[in-house]
Symmetry: C2
Subunit: 227 residues, 2 copies
DNA sequence: GCGTGCCTGTGATCGGGCTCACAGATTCAC
DNA sequence: GTGAATCTGTGAGCCCGATCACAGGCACGC
């Protein structure tokens, strides 16, 4: 991939806004651009944690990687960063990062990033913010998971997905994610069959529409009231 | 409280290791030292997020604050930081911070901290690390909560608590926390009665001993194998 | 374009954990 | 020291969601 393209990507990354153009150029020299196809793994448990990734296009799933009951910890979309725990220490990965939709991404060396932060506190603050937002999100997720019913878990999770990645139009919000019922179950801790029942019910009540390609929330307001 | 005492506390705080003595002194000028007693609230949902707290002594509980089914998000001990999401933005608190055991703590102004970070990237990195560790911990907690049985949830949660705050002796590990069965339930998403049944079983099997003051893990190794 | 997987839809059955209800045991406040 | 409040222990019954089993439907690869 042409170097100027890579630079373009870097310039448009939220995380790197804080950098000067000169700094961006230096980042550019030290990153690798990758294209990774659906189904491939970016890292596995036990791999060294020496890189951080910037996701340009596509979708990545972070999960525990078990065949069945593969707990999904996060779904990542263009503009997201992942593997950021490499910032902390040398301990190896303990999750699987798998490509769900063909991706283009940028690999950033750990040491390099630490060095950049020394020079640019603003960049450090961006990363702190990023982690903080993740933390906040994960907390609300814990709240969702404890004590809430299957209906509530799914309704609220759909709303979360919509808030992040949904496209609003005159018929509600479209979530352009190919997410099968099994995966949705792994995201909220329910069996695939249960997810089916719940979705069926939500469809009947006119709250959502589903296809294999995407999910449409017809009435986010009502969905929010589901218990 | 005497100023030199406050400085002493600051000097021994892990978070602030990165600062020079001069910087510590300037922090000292800008912090307030508080003593808060059991049962008091430090902040409530809706309160402004303009402070970060350093916990010197005692125990603080971060939770959703509902009367029943008060989801516990974190228990904090001496040396811990909390309220750190104030770093992100101005959005108000959305949890309750309640004192579980009498505390001494230090309140640090948000703007002040941001300013310090500008001057000391190392401090920023400390905070990033802190958030990263919280993030990692919360992820493993999500994994625990989804799909795992009541026995496993409790056994693993006890091990987590022991890892952080336990005191090892020749009869296992002592967790010096006054944690009743109801709260333990709120920590893992189980009814109080279920917690009782599980603890009863673990006691019978010689894995733990409980009193109202604390919990002793007689055999962490066996506890780890509980499914 | 056709077959072979993968995904969705649905029923029967089972069981873990919740709810409700109450009795005893501790601890705490005064 | 005594009463009130809180916490623990335990049983009966129920219900949500898991598991198992299988029938169609799509979609993608060759």
């Amino acid at each position: 991939m042409a170097a100027h393209t890579k630079l373009w990507y870097l310039q448009h990354f939220r995380l790197l806004e804080a950098l000067t153009d000169v700094q961006k150029r230096s980042v550019e020299k030290m990153t690798r651009m990758l294209e990774v196809k659906r189904g491939q793994r970016i890292y596995l448990p036990g791999d060294p944690s020496d890189q951080i990734f910037l996701l340009k296009t596509g979708v990545v799933k972070i999960s525990t990687g078990g065949a069945e009951q593969d707990t999904i910890l996060a779904l990542l979309y263009p503009g997201d960063i992942f593997g950021e725990l490499a910032m902390l220490d040398e301990s190896p990965r303990d999750h699987v990062a798998e490509v769900v939709e063909d991706t283009v991404l940028c690999a950033l060396n750990r040491d390099m990033l630490l060095q950049m932060i020394q020079q640019s506190p603003a960049l450090g603050y961006q990363i702190t913010k990023l982690m903080g937002l993740r933390l906040r999100r994960l907390r609300t997720r814990v709240e969702e998971l404890l004590f809430k019913s299957a209906h509530a878990r799914i309704a609220h999770t759909l709303l979360d997905l919509a808030a992040d990645y949904g496209v609003k139009d005159d018929d509600g919000v479209l979530i352009p994610i190919r997410l099968n019922q099994g995966d949705l179950g792994n995201l909220v801790g329910l069996a695939r069959e249960t997810v089916n029942i719940v979705l069926q019910d939500l469809k009947q009540r006119g709250l959502v529409e589903t296809s294999r390609q995407n999910i449409r929330l017809k009435s986010p307001e009502l969905l929010r009231t589901v218990v």
